[in-house]
Protein backbone atom coordinates (compact mmCIF):
# COMPACT_ATOMS: atom_id res chain seq x y z
CA UNK A 1 0.00 0.00 0.00
CA UNK A 2 1.29 3.46 -0.89
CA UNK A 3 1.30 6.20 1.72
CA UNK A 4 3.21 9.41 2.39
CA UNK A 5 5.60 9.83 5.29
CA UNK A 6 3.11 12.29 6.77
CA UNK A 7 0.39 9.63 6.69
CA UNK A 8 2.73 7.12 8.30
CA UNK A 9 3.50 9.48 11.19
CA UNK A 10 -0.11 10.57 11.66
CA UNK A 11 -1.38 6.97 11.84
CA UNK A 12 1.30 5.97 14.34
CA UNK A 13 0.70 9.06 16.46
CA UNK A 14 -3.04 8.37 16.50
CA UNK A 15 -2.43 4.91 17.91
CA UNK A 16 -0.65 6.41 20.95
CA UNK A 17 -3.86 7.99 22.19
CA UNK A 18 -6.08 6.14 24.63
CA UNK A 19 -9.84 6.25 24.71
CA UNK A 20 -10.86 8.93 27.20
CA UNK A 21 -7.60 10.88 26.99
CA UNK A 22 -7.86 14.64 27.28
CA UNK A 23 -5.49 15.84 24.57
CA UNK A 24 -4.07 19.28 23.82
CA UNK A 25 -4.20 19.35 20.03
CA UNK A 26 -2.06 21.34 17.63
CA UNK A 27 -3.27 22.29 14.20
CA UNK A 28 -2.01 20.39 11.15
CA UNK A 29 -0.75 16.83 11.55
CA UNK A 30 -1.46 16.42 15.30
CA UNK A 31 -5.02 17.51 14.61
CA UNK A 32 -5.37 14.77 11.99
CA UNK A 33 -3.86 12.19 14.36
CA UNK A 34 -6.33 13.08 17.12
CA UNK A 35 -9.33 13.12 14.81
CA UNK A 36 -8.27 9.76 13.37
CA UNK A 37 -7.95 8.26 16.86
CA UNK A 38 -11.41 9.61 17.72
CA UNK A 39 -12.90 7.94 14.63
CA UNK A 40 -11.18 4.62 15.28
CA UNK A 41 -10.16 3.30 18.71
CA UNK A 42 -10.72 6.39 20.90
CA UNK A 43 -14.28 7.70 20.41
CA UNK A 44 -14.21 9.34 23.85
CA UNK A 45 -11.10 11.40 23.20
CA UNK A 46 -11.57 14.99 24.44
CA UNK A 47 -9.80 17.42 22.15
CA UNK A 48 -8.63 20.72 23.64
CA UNK A 49 -7.23 23.52 21.49
CA UNK A 50 -5.05 26.23 23.00
CA UNK A 51 -7.34 28.96 21.67
CA UNK A 52 -9.65 27.87 24.51
CA UNK A 53 -11.87 25.20 22.96
CA UNK A 54 -12.69 22.05 24.94
CA UNK A 55 -14.25 18.94 23.46
CA UNK A 56 -14.11 20.15 19.87
CA UNK A 57 -15.76 18.07 17.16
CA UNK A 58 -14.64 19.84 13.98
CA UNK A 59 -16.88 19.16 10.99
CA UNK A 60 -14.28 20.39 8.52
CA UNK A 61 -10.48 20.45 8.55
CA UNK A 62 -9.44 23.32 10.86
CA UNK A 63 -7.08 25.60 8.98
CA UNK A 64 -5.80 27.38 12.05
CA UNK A 65 -5.67 26.78 15.78
CA UNK A 66 -8.59 29.18 16.13
CA UNK A 67 -10.83 27.95 13.31
CA UNK A 68 -14.57 28.58 13.93
CA UNK A 69 -15.37 24.93 13.19
CA UNK A 70 -13.68 24.07 16.49
CA UNK A 71 -16.24 26.14 18.37
CA UNK A 72 -19.53 25.03 16.80
CA UNK A 73 -20.65 21.93 18.68
CA UNK A 74 -17.80 22.01 21.24
CA UNK A 75 -18.32 21.19 24.92
CA UNK A 76 -16.98 24.47 26.19
CA UNK A 77 -15.09 27.59 25.16
CA UNK A 78 -12.97 29.43 27.74
CA UNK A 79 -10.38 32.20 27.82
CA UNK A 80 -6.71 31.55 27.14
CA UNK A 81 -5.93 32.25 30.79
CA UNK A 82 -8.40 29.57 31.87
CA UNK A 83 -7.13 27.00 29.40
CA UNK A 84 -3.54 27.39 30.53
CA UNK A 85 -4.30 27.76 34.23
CA UNK A 86 -7.34 25.59 35.02
CA UNK A 87 -6.78 22.96 32.41
CA UNK A 88 -3.04 22.69 31.81
CA UNK A 89 -1.27 24.03 34.90
CA UNK A 90 -3.81 22.41 37.22
CA UNK A 91 -3.11 19.01 35.67
CA UNK A 92 -6.25 18.31 33.68
CA UNK A 93 -4.52 17.50 30.39
CA UNK A 94 -3.38 13.95 29.67
CA UNK A 95 -1.55 14.36 26.40
CA UNK A 96 0.28 17.12 24.56
CA UNK A 97 1.53 16.91 20.98
CA UNK A 98 4.62 18.92 20.19
CA UNK A 99 6.80 19.72 17.23
CA UNK A 100 9.66 22.09 16.63
CA UNK A 101 12.55 23.03 14.41
CA UNK A 102 14.99 21.09 16.61
CA UNK A 103 14.62 18.19 19.04
CA UNK A 104 17.78 17.25 20.88
CA UNK A 105 19.25 14.14 22.46
CA UNK A 106 17.24 14.62 25.67
CA UNK A 107 13.98 15.52 23.95
CA UNK A 108 14.29 19.26 24.56
CA UNK A 109 12.61 21.33 21.84
CA UNK A 110 13.57 24.52 20.04
CA UNK A 111 10.83 26.54 18.39
CA UNK A 112 12.41 29.96 19.01
CA UNK A 113 15.41 30.61 16.79
CA UNK A 114 18.24 29.13 14.77
CA UNK A 115 21.63 30.51 15.77
CA UNK A 116 23.47 30.93 19.02
CA UNK A 117 22.73 34.57 19.82
CA UNK A 118 19.17 35.33 20.96
CA UNK A 119 19.56 39.01 20.13
CA UNK A 120 20.88 38.35 16.62
CA UNK A 121 19.04 35.25 15.43
CA UNK A 122 20.11 33.67 12.15
CA UNK A 123 16.54 32.54 11.62
CA UNK A 124 13.77 33.76 13.85
CA UNK A 125 11.05 31.12 14.42
CA UNK A 126 7.50 31.78 15.72
CA UNK A 127 8.34 31.17 19.39
CA UNK A 128 6.89 29.10 22.20
CA UNK A 129 3.18 29.72 21.96
CA UNK A 130 1.83 27.17 24.38
CA UNK A 131 4.64 24.66 23.87
CA UNK A 132 6.68 25.65 26.93
CA UNK A 133 3.82 24.88 29.30
CA UNK A 134 2.46 21.87 27.43
CA UNK A 135 5.87 20.18 27.57
CA UNK A 136 6.09 20.87 31.31
CA UNK A 137 2.61 20.11 32.53
CA UNK A 138 0.73 17.68 30.25
CA UNK A 139 0.81 14.22 31.85
CA UNK A 140 2.57 12.83 28.79
CA UNK A 141 3.87 14.35 25.58
CA UNK A 142 4.52 13.06 22.11
CA UNK A 143 6.63 14.66 19.44
CA UNK A 144 5.92 14.18 15.74
CA UNK A 145 8.56 15.13 13.22
CA UNK A 146 10.24 13.73 10.09
CA UNK A 147 13.52 11.99 10.82
CA UNK A 148 16.17 14.40 9.52
CA UNK A 149 19.60 15.21 10.89
CA UNK A 150 18.99 18.96 11.02
CA UNK A 151 15.88 18.38 13.11
CA UNK A 152 17.68 16.13 15.59
CA UNK A 153 20.85 17.94 16.70
CA UNK A 154 22.86 16.84 19.72
CA UNK A 155 21.83 20.06 21.49
CA UNK A 156 19.15 22.63 20.65
CA UNK A 157 20.23 26.17 19.79
CA UNK A 158 17.56 27.39 22.22
CA UNK A 159 15.55 25.43 24.73
CA UNK A 160 11.95 26.53 24.18
CA UNK A 161 10.38 23.51 25.89
CA UNK A 162 11.78 21.07 28.40
CA UNK A 163 12.30 17.44 27.54
CA UNK A 164 14.58 15.65 29.98
CA UNK A 165 16.85 18.72 30.22
CA UNK A 166 20.44 17.51 30.71
CA UNK A 167 19.49 13.98 31.67
CA UNK A 168 17.63 11.96 34.25
CA UNK A 169 16.29 13.81 37.29
CA UNK A 170 16.17 17.23 35.65
CA UNK A 171 12.41 17.39 35.47
CA UNK A 172 11.96 16.30 39.06
CA UNK A 173 14.38 18.94 40.29
CA UNK A 174 12.26 21.64 38.64
CA UNK A 175 9.06 20.06 40.07
CA UNK A 176 7.51 19.58 36.64
CA UNK A 177 4.28 17.68 36.97
CA UNK A 178 4.25 15.96 33.56
CA UNK A 179 6.28 12.95 32.46
CA UNK A 180 7.74 14.75 29.44
CA UNK A 181 8.20 13.52 25.87
CA UNK A 182 7.73 9.79 26.34
CA UNK A 183 7.61 9.09 22.60
CA UNK A 184 8.93 10.63 19.40
CA UNK A 185 7.18 9.52 16.20
CA UNK A 186 9.20 9.95 13.02
CA UNK A 187 8.82 8.62 9.49
CA UNK A 188 11.43 5.95 10.29
CA UNK A 189 10.19 4.71 13.64
CA UNK A 190 9.90 5.59 17.32
CA UNK A 191 12.33 7.03 19.80
CA UNK A 192 11.76 6.81 23.53
CA UNK A 193 13.81 8.02 26.49
CA UNK A 194 16.15 5.55 28.17
CA UNK A 195 16.71 5.61 31.95
CA UNK A 196 18.87 8.74 31.57
CA UNK A 197 16.30 10.56 29.47
CA UNK A 198 18.30 10.09 26.27
CA UNK A 199 16.18 9.36 23.20
CA UNK A 200 16.90 5.90 21.77
CA UNK A 201 15.45 4.03 18.84
CA UNK A 202 12.84 1.57 20.08
CA UNK A 203 10.72 0.74 17.01
CA UNK A 204 10.87 0.80 13.23
CA UNK A 205 8.12 1.20 10.67
CA UNK A 206 7.84 -1.59 8.07
CA UNK A 207 10.71 -1.44 5.57
CA UNK A 208 12.84 0.99 7.62
CA UNK A 209 16.20 0.19 9.19
CA UNK A 210 18.14 1.24 12.27
CA UNK A 211 20.91 2.44 9.95
CA UNK A 212 18.50 4.91 8.35
CA UNK A 213 17.60 6.26 11.79
CA UNK A 214 21.25 6.55 12.85
CA UNK A 215 22.24 8.36 9.65
CA UNK A 216 19.47 10.89 10.20
CA UNK A 217 20.15 11.62 13.87
CA UNK A 218 22.65 14.22 15.05
CA UNK A 219 24.00 12.22 18.00
CA UNK A 220 25.22 8.61 18.27
CA UNK A 221 21.79 7.03 18.43
CA UNK A 222 21.39 4.06 20.74
CA UNK A 223 19.23 1.21 19.52
CA UNK A 224 17.07 -0.82 21.91
CA UNK A 225 18.07 -4.44 22.36
CA UNK A 226 14.56 -5.50 21.43
CA UNK A 227 13.62 -3.34 18.51
CA UNK A 228 9.87 -3.46 17.84
CA UNK A 229 8.11 -3.16 14.47
CA UNK A 230 5.08 -0.93 14.15
CA UNK A 231 1.89 -2.41 12.73
CA UNK A 232 1.44 -1.60 9.05
CA UNK A 233 -0.81 1.32 8.14
CA UNK A 234 -4.27 -0.02 7.30
CA UNK A 235 -6.56 0.85 4.42
CA UNK A 236 -9.24 1.81 6.93
CA UNK A 237 -6.96 4.41 8.54
CA UNK A 238 -5.92 5.84 5.19
CA UNK A 239 -9.50 5.99 4.00
CA UNK A 240 -10.56 8.09 7.01
CA UNK A 241 -7.59 10.40 6.60
CA UNK A 242 -7.96 10.88 2.86
CA UNK A 243 -11.71 10.87 2.43
CA UNK A 244 -13.00 12.40 5.65
CA UNK A 245 -10.32 14.41 7.41
CA UNK A 246 -8.09 16.00 4.78
CA UNK A 247 -9.72 15.38 1.40
CA UNK A 248 -7.56 17.94 -0.41
CA UNK A 249 -4.35 16.65 1.15
CA UNK A 250 -3.27 19.92 2.77
CA UNK A 251 -1.40 18.18 5.58
CA UNK A 252 -1.26 14.59 4.31
CA UNK A 253 0.93 15.35 1.33
CA UNK A 254 3.45 17.51 3.11
CA UNK A 255 6.63 16.05 4.49
CA UNK A 256 5.87 17.66 7.83
Amino acid sequence: MEYSSAELMIVNAARLLKDGDVVFVGVGQPNLACNLAKRTHAPNLVMIYEAGVIGAEPQRLPLSIGDPTLVSGALSVVSMYDIFANYLQRGNVDVGFLGGAQIDRFGNINATLVGTDYVHPKVRLPGSGGAQEIAAWANRCYIMTPHQKRRFPEKCDFRTSAGYLDGAGGREKASLRGKGPIGVVTDIGFMEPDENGELMLTALHPGKTAEMAKENTGWPLKVAAELRSTEPVTEHELKILREELDPTGIYLKSAG
Binding site: V27, E50, A51, G52, V53, P62, L63, S64, I65, G66, D67, P68, L70, V71, S72, G73, V77, V78, S79, M80, Y81, F84, A85, L88, Q89, N108, T112, Y118, H120, P121, K122, V123, R124, P126, G127, S128, G129, G130, A131, Q132, E133, A135, A136, W137, F158, R159, T160, S161, A162, L165, G170, R171, A174, S175, L176, R177
Partner: protein, 298 residues
Protein backbone atom coordinates in the same frame (compact mmCIF):
# COMPACT_ATOMS: atom_id res chain seq x y z
CA UNK B 1 -24.01 57.95 28.05
CA UNK B 2 -23.39 57.08 24.43
CA UNK B 3 -19.82 56.34 23.42
CA UNK B 4 -20.70 55.77 19.79
CA UNK B 5 -18.31 57.43 17.39
CA UNK B 6 -16.69 56.89 14.02
CA UNK B 7 -13.65 54.63 14.08
CA UNK B 8 -11.50 57.35 12.57
CA UNK B 9 -12.46 59.71 15.38
CA UNK B 10 -11.83 57.05 18.03
CA UNK B 11 -8.35 56.34 16.66
CA UNK B 12 -7.61 60.07 16.36
CA UNK B 13 -8.69 60.70 19.93
CA UNK B 14 -7.41 57.63 21.76
CA UNK B 15 -4.34 56.26 19.92
CA UNK B 16 -1.23 58.39 20.29
CA UNK B 17 2.28 58.06 18.86
CA UNK B 18 4.40 55.89 21.15
CA UNK B 19 1.45 54.11 22.75
CA UNK B 20 1.43 50.46 23.69
CA UNK B 21 -1.48 49.08 21.67
CA UNK B 22 -2.98 45.64 22.19
CA UNK B 23 -5.26 44.68 19.27
CA UNK B 24 -6.79 41.56 20.77
CA UNK B 25 -7.86 38.17 19.55
CA UNK B 26 -6.69 34.62 19.06
CA UNK B 27 -7.27 34.26 15.29
CA UNK B 28 -10.91 35.30 15.95
CA UNK B 29 -12.36 38.84 15.89
CA UNK B 30 -9.00 40.34 14.96
CA UNK B 31 -9.53 44.11 14.71
CA UNK B 32 -8.19 44.62 11.19
CA UNK B 33 -10.35 47.67 10.48
CA UNK B 34 -8.89 49.54 13.46
CA UNK B 35 -5.38 48.50 12.44
CA UNK B 36 -5.96 49.92 8.96
CA UNK B 37 -7.27 53.16 10.43
CA UNK B 38 -4.12 53.49 12.56
CA UNK B 39 -2.05 53.03 9.39
CA UNK B 40 -4.09 55.65 7.51
CA UNK B 41 -3.57 58.12 10.35
CA UNK B 42 0.18 57.45 10.28
CA UNK B 43 0.84 56.66 13.95
CA UNK B 44 4.51 56.17 14.82
CA UNK B 45 6.60 54.29 17.36
CA UNK B 46 3.81 52.12 18.64
CA UNK B 47 4.56 49.11 20.79
CA UNK B 48 2.36 46.34 19.44
CA UNK B 49 1.46 43.74 22.02
CA UNK B 50 -0.45 40.52 21.49
CA UNK B 51 0.13 36.86 22.33
CA UNK B 52 -0.33 36.02 18.67
CA UNK B 53 0.73 38.88 16.39
CA UNK B 54 -0.61 38.14 12.94
CA UNK B 55 -1.20 39.82 9.59
CA UNK B 56 -2.42 43.14 10.98
CA UNK B 57 0.84 43.52 12.94
CA UNK B 58 2.79 42.65 9.79
CA UNK B 59 0.87 45.43 8.04
CA UNK B 60 1.38 47.96 10.85
CA UNK B 61 5.12 47.23 10.85
CA UNK B 62 5.31 47.42 7.04
CA UNK B 63 3.58 50.81 7.20
CA UNK B 64 6.18 52.11 9.65
CA UNK B 65 3.80 52.49 12.61
CA UNK B 66 5.65 50.34 15.15
CA UNK B 67 9.03 50.18 16.82
CA UNK B 68 8.51 47.28 19.19
CA UNK B 69 6.51 44.07 19.46
CA UNK B 70 5.59 42.06 22.57
CA UNK B 71 4.45 38.52 21.80
CA UNK B 72 4.44 34.80 22.55
CA UNK B 73 3.88 33.30 19.10
CA UNK B 74 4.27 35.20 15.88
CA UNK B 75 2.99 33.51 12.77
CA UNK B 76 0.60 33.67 9.88
CA UNK B 77 -1.99 31.38 11.51
CA UNK B 78 -2.29 28.08 9.70
CA UNK B 79 0.10 29.24 6.98
CA UNK B 80 3.59 29.81 8.40
CA UNK B 81 5.95 32.67 9.00
CA UNK B 82 4.96 36.23 9.87
CA UNK B 83 7.45 37.53 7.36
CA UNK B 84 7.58 41.27 7.94
CA UNK B 85 7.82 41.26 11.74
CA UNK B 86 10.22 38.33 11.58
CA UNK B 87 12.46 40.04 9.07
CA UNK B 88 12.47 43.27 11.12
CA UNK B 89 13.63 41.26 14.14
CA UNK B 90 16.25 39.33 12.18
CA UNK B 91 17.66 42.56 10.76
CA UNK B 92 17.72 44.20 14.18
CA UNK B 93 15.30 46.93 13.02
CA UNK B 94 12.80 46.32 15.74
CA UNK B 95 12.77 45.77 19.49
CA UNK B 96 10.92 42.77 20.83
CA UNK B 97 9.93 41.24 24.11
CA UNK B 98 8.96 37.60 24.27
CA UNK B 99 7.01 35.27 26.56
CA UNK B 100 5.27 31.92 26.36
CA UNK B 101 1.51 32.12 25.80
CA UNK B 102 0.84 31.56 29.47
CA UNK B 103 3.42 34.19 30.40
CA UNK B 104 1.85 36.74 28.10
CA UNK B 105 -1.70 36.03 29.24
CA UNK B 106 -0.66 36.00 32.87
CA UNK B 107 0.76 39.49 32.34
CA UNK B 108 -2.69 40.60 31.16
CA UNK B 109 -4.45 38.81 34.00
CA UNK B 110 -2.22 40.67 36.46
CA UNK B 111 -2.90 43.94 34.66
CA UNK B 112 -6.64 43.26 34.62
CA UNK B 113 -6.64 42.44 38.34
CA UNK B 114 -4.72 45.51 39.42
CA UNK B 115 -1.81 43.40 40.63
CA UNK B 116 1.87 44.26 40.09
CA UNK B 117 2.72 40.72 38.93
CA UNK B 118 1.50 37.15 39.04
CA UNK B 119 3.29 33.86 39.60
CA UNK B 120 3.28 30.77 37.42
CA UNK B 121 4.73 27.33 37.99
CA UNK B 122 8.17 26.61 36.56
CA UNK B 123 8.54 25.01 33.16
CA UNK B 124 12.30 24.27 33.38
CA UNK B 125 12.77 25.74 29.90
CA UNK B 126 14.96 28.51 31.23
CA UNK B 127 16.41 30.00 28.03
CA UNK B 128 13.57 32.50 27.65
CA UNK B 129 13.96 33.49 31.30
CA UNK B 130 17.62 34.14 30.59
CA UNK B 131 16.79 36.15 27.47
CA UNK B 132 14.05 38.29 29.01
CA UNK B 133 15.01 40.04 32.27
CA UNK B 134 11.36 40.83 33.03
CA UNK B 135 10.74 37.14 33.70
CA UNK B 136 11.85 36.61 37.28
CA UNK B 137 11.60 34.14 40.12
CA UNK B 138 10.36 34.45 43.66
CA UNK B 139 10.17 31.97 46.48
CA UNK B 140 6.69 30.77 47.28
CA UNK B 141 6.36 31.84 50.95
CA UNK B 142 4.21 28.79 51.69
CA UNK B 143 6.10 25.87 50.12
CA UNK B 144 9.55 27.43 49.80
CA UNK B 145 9.70 26.46 46.11
CA UNK B 146 10.61 28.92 43.40
CA UNK B 147 7.92 30.14 41.04
CA UNK B 148 8.19 32.27 37.89
CA UNK B 149 6.77 35.79 37.89
CA UNK B 150 5.80 38.11 35.08
CA UNK B 151 4.93 41.79 35.47
CA UNK B 152 1.45 43.20 34.82
CA UNK B 153 0.84 44.45 31.30
CA UNK B 154 -1.34 47.56 31.17
CA UNK B 155 -1.48 48.67 27.53
CA UNK B 156 -2.30 52.30 26.78
CA UNK B 157 -5.02 51.17 24.41
CA UNK B 158 -6.87 47.90 23.92
CA UNK B 159 -8.70 47.39 20.66
CA UNK B 160 -11.36 44.72 20.78
CA UNK B 161 -13.78 43.65 18.08
CA UNK B 162 -17.07 42.17 19.31
CA UNK B 163 -20.18 40.66 17.77
CA UNK B 164 -22.56 43.10 19.41
CA UNK B 165 -22.50 46.01 21.81
CA UNK B 166 -24.89 48.70 22.93
CA UNK B 167 -24.06 52.35 22.49
CA UNK B 168 -22.50 52.56 25.94
CA UNK B 169 -20.07 49.73 25.17
CA UNK B 170 -21.60 46.80 27.03
CA UNK B 171 -20.41 44.00 24.79
CA UNK B 172 -21.41 40.44 23.96
CA UNK B 173 -18.73 38.12 22.58
CA UNK B 174 -18.91 34.43 21.82
CA UNK B 175 -16.77 31.86 20.08
CA UNK B 176 -13.05 31.94 20.79
CA UNK B 177 -12.53 34.63 23.41
CA UNK B 178 -8.76 34.37 23.81
CA UNK B 179 -7.81 37.39 25.89
CA UNK B 180 -10.36 40.06 25.02
CA UNK B 181 -11.83 40.36 28.49
CA UNK B 182 -8.44 40.44 30.23
CA UNK B 183 -7.00 43.08 27.91
CA UNK B 184 -10.08 45.28 28.20
CA UNK B 185 -9.70 45.38 31.98
CA UNK B 186 -5.90 45.70 31.80
CA UNK B 187 -5.78 48.61 29.34
CA UNK B 188 -6.01 52.31 30.17
CA UNK B 189 -8.39 52.95 27.26
CA UNK B 190 -10.61 50.56 25.31
CA UNK B 191 -11.80 51.02 21.75
CA UNK B 192 -14.55 48.63 20.74
CA UNK B 193 -15.56 47.90 17.19
CA UNK B 194 -18.78 45.92 16.80
CA UNK B 195 -20.51 43.96 14.06
CA UNK B 196 -23.83 45.21 15.41
CA UNK B 197 -24.97 47.97 17.71
CA UNK B 198 -27.94 46.68 19.64
CA UNK B 199 -30.35 48.08 22.16
CA UNK B 200 -29.38 47.80 25.82
CA UNK B 201 -32.32 45.40 26.26
CA UNK B 202 -30.58 42.85 23.99
CA UNK B 203 -27.50 42.96 26.23
CA UNK B 204 -29.67 42.69 29.35
CA UNK B 205 -31.48 39.65 27.87
CA UNK B 206 -28.29 37.59 28.23
CA UNK B 207 -26.06 39.12 30.93
CA UNK B 208 -23.76 36.07 31.22
CA UNK B 209 -22.56 36.80 27.70
CA UNK B 210 -21.44 40.35 28.56
CA UNK B 211 -17.66 40.11 28.80
CA UNK B 212 -16.92 43.80 28.76
CA UNK B 213 -18.98 46.36 30.70
CA UNK B 214 -19.50 49.74 29.08
CA UNK B 215 -18.03 51.69 31.99
CA UNK B 216 -14.47 50.58 31.10
CA UNK B 217 -14.94 51.42 27.40
CA UNK B 218 -13.81 54.70 25.83
CA UNK B 219 -15.32 54.39 22.36
CA UNK B 220 -17.81 52.16 20.56
CA UNK B 221 -17.62 52.05 16.77
CA UNK B 222 -20.11 50.33 14.50
CA UNK B 223 -17.87 48.57 11.98
CA UNK B 224 -19.40 45.49 10.31
CA UNK B 225 -16.85 43.06 8.84
CA UNK B 226 -14.08 44.75 10.81
CA UNK B 227 -12.39 41.38 11.42
CA UNK B 228 -11.87 40.37 7.78
CA UNK B 229 -9.73 38.42 6.75
CA UNK B 230 -10.20 36.82 10.19
CA UNK B 231 -13.76 35.99 11.16
CA UNK B 232 -16.61 36.75 13.51
CA UNK B 233 -18.23 33.57 14.82
CA UNK B 234 -21.69 33.22 13.30
CA UNK B 235 -21.31 36.32 11.11
CA UNK B 236 -18.72 35.39 8.45
CA UNK B 237 -15.99 32.85 7.86
CA UNK B 238 -12.24 33.23 7.86
CA UNK B 239 -10.92 34.20 4.42
CA UNK B 240 -8.25 31.56 4.15
CA UNK B 241 -7.38 32.59 0.58
CA UNK B 242 -6.15 35.90 1.92
CA UNK B 243 -3.97 34.31 4.62
CA UNK B 244 -2.33 32.22 1.89
CA UNK B 245 -2.00 35.24 -0.39
CA UNK B 246 -0.35 37.28 2.38
CA UNK B 247 2.51 34.79 2.47
CA UNK B 248 3.43 35.99 -1.02
CA UNK B 249 2.46 39.66 -0.56
CA UNK B 250 4.59 39.94 2.58
CA UNK B 251 7.62 38.31 0.96
CA UNK B 252 8.28 41.27 -1.35
CA UNK B 253 8.29 44.89 -0.19
CA UNK B 254 6.93 46.09 -3.55
CA UNK B 255 3.92 43.78 -3.26
CA UNK B 256 3.36 44.81 0.35
CA UNK B 257 3.40 48.49 -0.61
CA UNK B 258 0.99 47.81 -3.46
CA UNK B 259 -1.33 46.02 -1.03
CA UNK B 260 -1.26 48.88 1.49
CA UNK B 261 -1.79 51.45 -1.25
CA UNK B 262 -4.79 49.64 -2.65
CA UNK B 263 -6.52 48.19 0.42
CA UNK B 264 -5.56 50.53 3.26
CA UNK B 265 -4.61 54.00 1.96
CA UNK B 266 -6.83 53.52 -1.10
CA UNK B 267 -10.10 53.12 0.79
CA UNK B 268 -11.80 55.55 3.13
CA UNK B 269 -13.11 53.05 5.62
CA UNK B 270 -14.14 49.42 6.20
CA UNK B 271 -17.41 49.82 4.33
CA UNK B 272 -15.56 50.78 1.15
CA UNK B 273 -13.06 47.95 1.72
CA UNK B 274 -15.85 45.38 2.12
CA UNK B 275 -17.69 46.55 -1.00
CA UNK B 276 -14.46 46.47 -3.02
CA UNK B 277 -13.69 42.97 -1.72
CA UNK B 278 -16.96 41.47 -2.97
CA UNK B 279 -16.77 38.31 -0.85
CA UNK B 280 -20.10 38.71 0.95
CA UNK B 281 -21.49 35.45 -0.47
CA UNK B 282 -18.27 33.44 -0.28
CA UNK B 283 -17.77 34.09 3.43
CA UNK B 284 -21.38 33.60 4.53
CA UNK B 285 -21.99 30.92 7.18
CA UNK B 286 -25.15 28.86 7.70
CA UNK B 287 -26.96 29.50 10.97
CA UNK B 288 -26.53 27.21 14.00
CA UNK B 289 -28.39 28.63 17.01
CA UNK B 290 -27.79 27.75 20.66
CA UNK B 291 -30.64 26.42 22.78
CA UNK B 292 -32.27 29.40 24.54
CA UNK B 293 -31.70 29.72 28.29
CA UNK B 294 -34.38 30.77 30.74
CA UNK B 295 -33.16 33.46 33.14
CA UNK B 296 -36.57 33.53 34.81
CA UNK B 297 -38.66 36.59 35.55
CA UNK B 298 -38.17 37.61 39.20
Amino acid sequence: MTKLMLLKDAVAQFVKDGDCVYAAGFTHLIPFAAGHEIIRQGRKNLTLARATPDLIYDQLVAAGCASKVIFSYMGNPGVGSLRIVRSAIEKGQMEWEEYSHFGMITRLQAGASGLPFLPMNQTAATDLEAANPLIKRVTDPYSGREVITVPALNPDVAIVHVQRADKEGNAHLWGIVGEQKEVAFAAKKVILTAEEIVDESVIRSDPNRTMIPGFIVSAVCHVPHAAHPSYAQGYYDRDNEFYLAWDKISSEPALTKQYLDEWVYGVADREEYWQKLGKQEQLKVPEMLSAPVNYGKY
